[in-house]
Structure formats: C-alpha cells, structure tokens
C-alpha cells in the first residue's frame, strides 16, 4: 500500500514538473515586450499621478484656509 501511494505521489510530482517544462511561464508580458515602452508609460503615469496628488493636497489645504478665514 505504502509503495503504491509513493509511486502515485512521485508520478504526480513528475507530471507537474513535466507540465512546467513544456509550457513557458507567462507573466505580465506586456511589460517585457521588446521595446519595453510600457515601462516608460507606467513610470510617466506614476509621476503624473504623484504630481496630481500633490496638487489635490495643496487644493485641500487652501480650501481649509479659506474656510477658517471666513469663520473669523
């Protein structure tokens, strides 16, 4: 029984290994395409996102100041 179980387990493991060898791993390939232009686009988008976030925070601070001035 033990022998049979170990054989099945080993078979399963080998089949898993086999499957991995047969198929190339595919992950987010868009970012790795030959020109890698998507990386630049992502970087610029992040920079712009950061700048916009900064603008929003300044906008909110000024709104707060305006409200405080109106109260007094």
């Amino acid at each position: 029984m033990k022998k049979l179980l170990s054989i099945i387990v080993l078979l399963l493991i080998s089949s898993v290994i086999f499957a991995q060898a047969a198929q190339p791993v595919e992950m987010a390939e868009g970012m790795f395409q030959s020109g890698k232009i998507y990386v630049v686009v992502t970087v610029l988008s992040v920079i712009f996102l950061g700048i916009t976030g900064y603008l929003i925070s300044i906008d909110r601070k000024i709104s707060k100041m305006e409200k405080e001035l109106e109260k007094k």
Binding site: I37, Y38, V40, V41, L44, S45, F48, L49, T52, L55, I58, D59, I62, M65, E66, L69, K72
Partner: protein
C-alpha cells in the same frame, strides 16, 4: 466635487495623452522618427501659455475699467503661471531641436521671438516689484501687460509667419499641416491641448486663492 469636474477632466486627458502619446501609431517621417510624439507634449505647453496669458491680459483690462484689486491679483498670478508653461515650452523645444535640427538653439524667428517674449514678461515682474503702492502698481502693471501681450502675438504669431523658419507652421514650411491632417495624431493632440490648458488653469486657481488669502491676512493684521 461638483465644481471640481474640470480638474478631473484635466487629469484624465493628460493621463490619456501620456498613455496614448507613447503607444498610438504615428506617421513615419524622416529626421523626426519617434520624436514626432513630442507634438503631444511640447506644443500644449505653448497653447497653455497663450491661454493663461490671455486670462492675464483680460484681467488687466478689467482692472483698468473697474479698479478692483482682485483683477490685479488674477492678472499677476496668471502671468506667473503662463511663464511657467513658457519656460517648459522653451526647454522642451530646445531638447527637441538638438536631436532634429542638430543644435540646442538656432537663430530662428520663432525661437528668438519666444526668447524675447520671455524677457518682456520678466520685465513685467520687475516692474511690479519696483512699485510699492498697491493701486499704482496695479495700474502701471496692467498697462504694461497689455503691451506685453500684443508683443507676444507679434513675436510668436505674426513675425515667424512673415519669414522663413525651421519651426513647423511658419513661413514656407508645411511641416505642421502635414501632421495636423493625420487623424491618428488628432485624437491624441486635441485632448492633450485641452488637458494641459485645464491643468494650467488649476495651478493658476491655486495661485490666485493663495494670494487672496495672503492679502486678507495682511489686511487683518
């Protein structure tokens, strides 16, 4: 949120420009190659500058007719923000020129016109800084600002068209029209212009609000 919808449009349009500007198809042109994509980034700087400086001169005229100091604040802040975009336009144009025309700067009517315009607006700030009295400063600056905007139109729009220029869209150079007809580029270029103008107006509105708060605090103390 309701009155901030145009800020969202500014954000979405500029983000769209960054993504589409790099990934969409562009016409293959000799010398320019991929640098043709600069059209989406360099040209909107000038459109934004022209728009914001128009806001500036509009409020200068308004000040002269109504003498409301708030108009002067808008005019001076708009000139400031407009110059930010002008400086960005000059620098990006210079980089683009280096890799297409072969030099950082060429003695071209359009380029020299842009440089002279920058100097004229620098003089506007020097003029403002040299007068202490608020009403007097506002009035003299407003008159000078009208002169500055007229000079801007002359140096950037009229003179380059009257002589040969390397810069597209002037003299005998049909460059810009050729790309302009390309509908692939239009779908990115127009949103880019609108997006950057709105972003510029956003920055301008922050400047104005800040300046008004500063004035209120100053008057209270």
């Amino acid at each position: 949120m309701k009155k901030n919808w145009w800020k969202i449009i500014a954000f979405v349009f500029v983000l769209y420009t960054i993504i589409a500007g790099f990934l969409f198809k562009v016409p293959a042109q000799p010398i320019l190659h991929e640098s043709i994509r600069n059209l989406y980034f360099h040209v909107p700087m000038w459109f934004s500058m022209m728009t914001i400086l128009f806001v500036s001169v509009w409020h200068s005229i308004k000040y002269l007719s109504k003498s409301n100091i708030e108009s002067d604040i808008v005019a001076s802040r708009a000139a400031h923000t407009g110059m930010l975009f002008g400086a960005l336009g000059l620098v990006t144009g210079s980089i683009w020129a280096r890799y297409t025309w072969g030099a950082w700067w060429v003695a071209d009517t359009k380029l020299n016109g842009a440089a002279i315009t920058t100097l004229i607006y620098t003089a506007y700030f020097i003029l403002r800084g040299s007068i202490d009295e608020e009403q007097k400063r506002a009035r003299i600056a407003a008159v000078y600002n009208i002169f500055a905007y007229v000079m801007l139109i002359v140096f950037l729009m009229i003179l380059p068209r009257m002589s040969d220029s390397l810069h597209p869209g002037n003299g005998g150079n049909p460059g810009f029209n050729k790309y302009d007809l390309d509908s692939n580029m239009r779908v990115v270029f127009y949103p880019a212009v609108i997006g950057w103008i709105l972003l510029g107006v956003w920055i301008l509105s922050l400047q104005i609000r800040f300046e008004k708060i500063k004035r209120k605090i100053y008057l209270r103390d």
